[in-house]
Symmetry: C2
Subunit: 296 residues, 2 copies
């Protein structure tokens, strides 16, 4: 088998190729940043595919809503608010009703976040939604690469709700969690104050352990987290499952009592040693599988 990171390594040498003065942040973060008027333009691309990111028998409006929401989550992780999107839709459905329902989901989320649809493409094939999102920083862009030793680590909400939602849906159980999977809410309200106080931020899409490890790798630091401080929904696997779309950020301890920060979950601290240690009771847990990889 082949891992996503092995594939991404093949692209690594392209990242620094050619210079463009308008590109402030290029590949490697949640989103790219492009010089613009007053506020810089933030852009990210995210693919959601049938049977990988959503089940085969998902409702078309849910496919649309979820695909766009998870793409928007990358903007929130950059401390940016969303402005417009474009969609590359691949679909082999031949019933027009499906497309009408799909656009209903697009319309719902466009209206919810007051977004403009600025373009797209459509082609024939297995259902897949490539969503391009564009926005502008609230205050400043929050990168993955600027966590500092001594920073406190926060997450903005409980883990595992999406995971439970998908299981409940598969088991035909009507619970409040199903919405958490199909219609995740993006924390733009939180993103706004995070962009003011945080040193680094990422959205938890592939599991806390993997996404936190991305902050650590980019910032060349490590982390120590306390299991008991992490709000979970199911069990310890919530830490590596993903589909959370909560934000994980780090900020200086001086903001510990800040009215916004203090409402989030303080789960650990950034360390100089480049390892991630999960303390549970009196033992340290070695998390081998750091998250979800669509190729594994």
């Amino acid at each position: 088998m082949i891992s996503e990171s092995a594939i991404l390594n093949c692209f690594q040498h392209l990242v620094d190729l050619n210079k463009d003065d308008n590109v402030i942040v290029g590949s490697g973060d949640d989103a790219a940043v492009i010089k613009s008027i007053e506020k810089d333009l933030v852009h990210s691309v995210d693919i959601s595919k049938i049977n990988s990111h959503f089940p085969e028998d998902s409702m078309p409006q849910d496919i649309a809503y979820r695909s766009i929401a998870v793409a928007l989550s990358d903007l929130a992780a950059m401390g940016a608010f969303p402005s417009f999107i474009s969609i590359g839709l691949t679909s082999n459905i031949t019933d027009l009703k499906w497309y009408k329902q799909f656009t209903r989901g697009v319309e719902e989320i466009l209206n919810e976040y007051q977004l403009k649809l600025i373009g797209g493409d459509i082609t024939n094939g297995e259902i897949s939604v490539c969503v391009n999102v564009f926005g502008y920083a609230y205050e400043k862009n929050i990168l993955r690469s600027t966590a500092k030793v001594g920073d406190l680590i926060y997450i903005t909400g409980p883990l595992g709700e999406g995971r439970k939602g998908l299981e409940d849906w598969k088991n035909n159980q009507q619970t409040k969690y199903i919405k958490k999977f199909f219609k995740p809410k993006v924390d733009f309200y939180k993103s706004k104050y995070i962009s003011k106080y945080a040193n680094s931020c990422i959205d938890i899409s592939d599991g806390l352990m993997k996404d936190l490890s991305r902050i650590c790798k980019s910032s060349e630091v490590g982390a120590e987290i306390i299991y008991e401080n992490i709000p979970i929904t199911n069990d310890i696997n919530d830490l590596s499952y993903g589909d959370d779309y909560k934000l994980c950020y780090t900020c200086s301890p001086e903001f510990r009592d800040n009215e916004f920060i203090s409402q989030d979950f303080h789960i650990g601290e950034i360390k100089s040693d480049t390892e991630i240690i999960l303390n549970k009771g009196n033992s340290s847990i070695n998390f081998k599988k750091h998250g979800w990889d669509s190729f594994e």
Copy 2:
């Protein structure tokens, strides 16, 4: 069966949804235009899929190069030069060698047009490349919707070369046309002067007849073209086959003798009657199939 235009109609009501002062041109043209510093940012998205846009046994570097080139063609059609791109890659290949070769094609075209890769996403599935391109207008953006009655219609090169290239490749014949299919060159040199003189422009990706009809529909005009003036490679079906990536533009007759314009192929004229008439010898041909539709 279901047509692409029937599907696009489902999205029509989303086009004018919500307002964004930064969006100067939204959905419906070759690309969107976003307010930026000095020059506005032009953005387009284009999906290339295995077995639809390129054959199954294409070389990975050709898949990369071609997918990016055809996406860049939309910028040329807007009178814009390319600056940076992001890629959403779907692939089910498990051999790393494939990805290394794919990135070689990416690298080649990045260097050829001096582009920066600013981001991307990768997921597991049937091979598909969703390419997002970004650029800035040379002079001004050339839209589809601003052709004027009396405009002369030009194309920038012969039709059917890509079509012949693909056939030659399938028949194992080594000809100069194969490159025209797998490595189409984007006419940015021509795009530059077109952006100065033309009233409307589109790139010929789905066949001259279909793409010209898009200019006519957007501009609420018609066209009369002369078959004998159209440079073709194979036969009359070159007019509807597509894969040309030449530009089709309209401009005022006052530029007929312009040093740049006079080098292109003058194939007809924009008329007030909203029909497209193809004159061949003494007869008028009724082109029923106006181009290529990936859902037909």
